[in-house]
Amino acid sequence: MIASRQVSRRQFLRGSGGAVVGLPFLPSLLPASAEAAGPGGPPRLILMAERLGAYGSSMHGTMSDTLTNKMQLYPGHEIGWSNLNAVNAGGKATLSPILKANANTLTPALVKKMNVLRGFDAISWGGHNEGALGNLGGPPDKGAAIPSIDQFVGYSPTYFAASGKPVERAIVSGHDPKMNYNHQNPATRSAEMVGIRPTSDPGALFSKLFSQFTVPVAGNKPPVVDPKPAGKLVVDHVLDDYKFIRDNRRLSSADKRKLDAHMTMLLEVQRRAMGASGGAGIGAGPGCAKPGTPKGGGLPGRNPAGAVALYQSINDVIAAAMKCGITRVATVSNYGDAFTTFNGDWHSQSHASAGMDNSATQMFTDAYQTFFEGVFVDLASKLDTDEGAGRTYLDNSIMLWLNEHGAKDHGCHDVPVISFGGASGQFKTGMLIDYRNRATPAWTWAKKNNYYAGVPIHQMWTNILYSLGIPPAEWAKYSSGTPGAWGPCKVMQQPPTKLEVLPSHYVAGVLPGAANKLPVWWT
């Protein structure tokens, strides 16, 4: 009965007798034989992003002063790299003022799974680029209508199929509403871009993901979700109602687009509710365990300890969802001001932190260090448990933490990128890789201020997509400037000033090469 209903729905969606009714074709409706998921699935993607950012020297310290290896990325553009070595003192493992955590958590073994990646420039927008999750160019009102990476990956037909159609396409958590974006109709990647609100309540997140979840008896089996039979049917009835309206009532083209988007989302609700019977991910791994019900509630104001506790509860849910095959994509966003006790305007302080006011600089250093240790390292360590075949869940993931600002406040050079995990062995780890061209700085003012041109951050995102097995054809519609690169990879600053990026800052080859695999990083 279910099968025939699904056929019926497909026919409805695609139109009968060749008459396309305009509703999207949903990859979730592909027959199972069309999928080609490997036994382990593609690497998981976990992104953490924070609005604003600390002064660059706090993030990177002096790490780049002792690079042991160098090579010419392009003629005239020398990059360097070396192994990461944390200094253990006072119970802390320290790489820089911000990259510092309890030595029992940030162990040498975990440091070997970490990378500090430097020299990625947000060339398509400065100031508040708001692109820390890859929606380069900022929100729609700033002109760049591309989704954030998590949404693109979650709705990628290739990635979704290879992942075994997990229940949740992408967890969106944290508390910055201007980080995650997707098309209003994500299945067809059409209609305007809309914001996706994060969930900052771990209780709500738990309820959404685990309320109907039962851990399977044997490991590595599809998770069991108790579908509501009535729920499956009701969505069909709503679709019938809409089809009647669409076919028989006067609607504008815009009306139809809007209602199509609604119905697509409703189908997604049903797909999730159907759980296992509709495909529910590669399956629960050996570490799968239903987490305890977390305490509900949102952020406790500007209270670092409270914020850490809350985000760690979110981490618990994310880690369990990853291990149980409920999802393979998650984001955690943060505006930044939850991790400080400062009572004033946090945005103003971000400017003052850029060397203008030492107390502000320290304040930002403390807040971002707290996030690094309490949230980023916390989730990495929670994922660093055995998944089989000698690898951990973390090993089979790529986990990134980005800030919005680059080396200086609101600057777009050297946006910090910290990673854990090697994307199932595809990336080398335990390294500082500095893609900045420190040998020949392109402009004197920047040199004086320790600014160096690197490579477009688009190249980093493009490499991430490569590692996830998503073919470039899928993101071609979002690629401009450099063919094949993710996003609008072109210098878009207006007006060009000393804080901005100019094409002349880059040696020949850098911008056209933004779709290339980054050397050194890949194994």
Partner: protein, 615 residues
């Protein structure tokens, strides 16, 4: 930890300073009759939704928009999603309509599920970082789709429980499953109120068949998840004269327009009856319904929402945030704010709107110039130099005539919650929110410019002096705009401190709260309300407001905001000319606020819809 003078002001600069080209643009509106809609005109985005629309290129204001005529075809606007507020109110009214007193129990049990749907956020328009009415957040949101579906499922469970089944469905429903005839009667009665139109036989049949296949719970869930419930579907009736794609709304669609305009909920029984009998289509019947609806207490709530979003009262800075800061403590003195003061400030402005709209109707000019204050707490009253709070019932107290006229000088519009005022921000808000003028974004090196001069600012400098140093004694890219567009307006308001208290002297404090210097406040300015007026000087807030009140763009800006709120989309200066001119001319003629607000329903296009099949 401290909030330094520099960082306070630097932050302000970067929020509003301008990479000035020497031109000022009007806030994004549109010209031409293109596809509108909260999201239809451009992108929208989540909690801080955005509506990307081209800026108004010329300097036209509403006063010079095309004259209203029947040639002004209604703006093509995509169907409106119920706002989350409208959804909640509609669901409550629907249950009350069906269950009477018994609805309360269901409403209570449903509340937790409904609350999981986040409220709409004010939509951003173009470069305006502050947002506008939440009604404009028209994007299809996954949390709304999923949330409303869960609410529908939960409601179906509750409404088919043995204790409610017969009351909700009818005495024929003694137990589940419910017979077809019984279901039919239920669908005919309940379904039409859910879908807001009498159901056709085909529609009834479809829902009855759901019962046969899946049971009554599925019928209720499907109804409460239907597009016709969650969206204001308007298919229209016949084509309007002379326009193939403009349709006259059905009486039930008109009824919904009225109820959602003024109540944010479904039509009540009286309005439904007027649609059923056709009296709503007569001039007298329609006018009577508009009068009745506006007089209904529910309209007060909806007008509160207009004032709340227009004045951005949800975004007032928290007055008590800096209470532990020594400088702030010393600044506030015995007025160190409670956690409640911010809400009191917001409530006062809502009270002012209510008073002039409903209690003692006044004009738009009264809103700009009234000496009345509405402090509901002693704490707020003391900021105005009064000893007692207003009781909310008797005549509100009046301050000395002209001392701080109108809403623009109420504490909620002025207070920064900081030891220093924010003259740049005050000026920018006047430009954007009161004049509907857009300020270009800041130059990228704004902070660097400030950094260059910060060390040269003397310790005892007043806020005005600091602002001038940081914004006018720097590069032309900063100076050009600040000197003209924002600073003078803000300086004229320097007679009110960071808590909105009147002052003649500014006490300049260090970060420990130690008095550095007392500086007489200088409120003289050439405010350039009319940007071309380089000579009119004001001595302070009173004279500034007088200049503002005379400027026609202020009235037209108010009209634009109200039309925007009413239509849940950015106004189109051509397509909305009738509505805009009606409100603007009403202001010119001294019409009272209720008349202005009601007038939106009297525009011919209120009962029409353009339905374009072109992409």
């Amino acid at each position: 930890m401290r909030s330094s003078k520099i960082s306070q002001v630097v932050g302000v600069i970067c929020l509003v300073a301008s990479g000035c080209s020497g031109n000022i643009e009007h806030e994004p509106g549109k010209t031409g009759n293109s596809q509108g809609g909260g999201s239809g005109g451009g992108g929208t985005a989540g909690n801080n939704s955005t509506v990307s629309l081209p800026p108004l290129k010329d300097d036209t204001t509403v006063a010079t928009t095309p004259t209203c005529s029947m040639a002004n075809k209604p703006v093509s606007q995509e169907i409106r999603r119920l706002s989350v507020r409208q959804y909640r109110r509609t669901l409550n009214d629907l249950l009350t309509s069906a269950l009477g007193d018994a609805a309360a129990g269901v409403q209570t049990k449903l509340a937790a599920t409904i609350e999981l749907i986040p409220d709409d956020a004010p939509a951003r328009i173009g470069s305006d970082p502050h947002g506008t009415f939440r009604r404009l957040s028209q994007e299809v949101r996954a949390d709304f789709v999923e949330g409303s579906y869960k609410v529908a499922e939960t409601a179906a469970d509750l409404l088919t429980a043995p204790d409610l089944l017969a009351k909700f469905v009818g005495s024929c429903a003694t137990a589940m499953p419910v017979a077809a005839d019984c279901t039919r009667a239920f669908v005919e009665k309940f379904g039409r109120r859910v879908l807001r139109h009498p159901l056709t036989a085909g529609e009834v049949d479809r829902y009855v068949s759901i019962n046969a296949n899946s049971g009554l719970k599925a019928v209720i869930t499907a109804l409460l998840s239907a597009p016709g419930f969650l969206y204001l579907l308007e298919h229209g009736d016949k084509a309007a004269d002379g326009a193939a794609d403009v349709f006259v709304l059905t009486p039930f669609e008109v009824a919904s327009r009225l109820s959602y305009q003024f109540w944010d909920t479904m039509p009540d029984d009286t309005l439904w009856k007027a649609a059923e009998t056709g009296s709503l289509l007569t001039s007298s019947g329609y006018a009577a319904e508009v009068e009745r609806i506006f007089a209904d207490p529910r309209t007060r709530d909806t007008m509160d929402m207009f004032f709340l979003d227009w004045l951005m009262l949800d975004e007032l800075p928290k007055m008590d945030t800096l209470n532990a800061d020594p400088e702030y403590k010393a600044f506030a003195g015995d007025a160190l704010p409670s956690a409640k003061l911010t809400d009191d400030m917001a409530e006062e402005l809502l009270s002012m709107g209510r008073h002039l709209t409903f209690n003692a109707p006044g004009t738009f000019n009264d809103l700009l110039t009234s000496d009345l204050v509405f402090p509901r707490s002693v704490e707020l009253a003391r900021l105005y130099g009064l000893s007692a709070a207003w009781d909310g019932k008797s005549a509100p107290p009046a301050l000395a005539k002209g001392a701080r006229p109108g809403y623009l000088t109420r504490a909620g519009m002025l207070a920064s919650g900081m030891p220093r005022t924010r003259p740049v921000l005050r000026g920018a808000l006047l430009r954007t929110k009161t004049f509907c003028e857009a300020i270009p974004p800041p130059p990228a090196d704004a902070a660097d410019e400030a950094e260059k001069v910060k060390d040269s600012i003397p310790a005892g400098a007043s806020t005005r002096e600091v602002t001038i140093s940081l914004t006018e004694k720097v590069a032309a890219s900063c100076k050009g705009c600040h000197q003209v567009f924002t600073n003078p307006l803000g300086f004229a308001l320097e007679g009110f401190d960071g808590l909105g208290r009147a002052r003649t002297v500014e006490k300049v404090l260090d970060s420990k709260g130690k008095l550095i210097k007392e500086v007489p406040v200088d409120t003289r300015a050439i405010p350039r309300v009319d940007i071309d007026d380089e000579t009119t000087e004001v001595s302070g807030a009173g004279e500034l407001v007088a200049v503002i009140a005379k400027d026609k763009k202020v009235a037209s800006c108010f009209a634009r905001n109200y039309v925007r709120y009413s239509n849940a989309r950015v106004e189109d200066l051509t397509g909305d000319a009738c509505a805009l001119n009606l409100v603007t001319s009403g202001i010119d003629k001294g019409a009272k606020l209720p008349e202005l607000f009601r007038s939106i329903a009297l525009v011919p296009s209120f009962k029409l819809r353009t339905i374009s099949v072109k992409d």
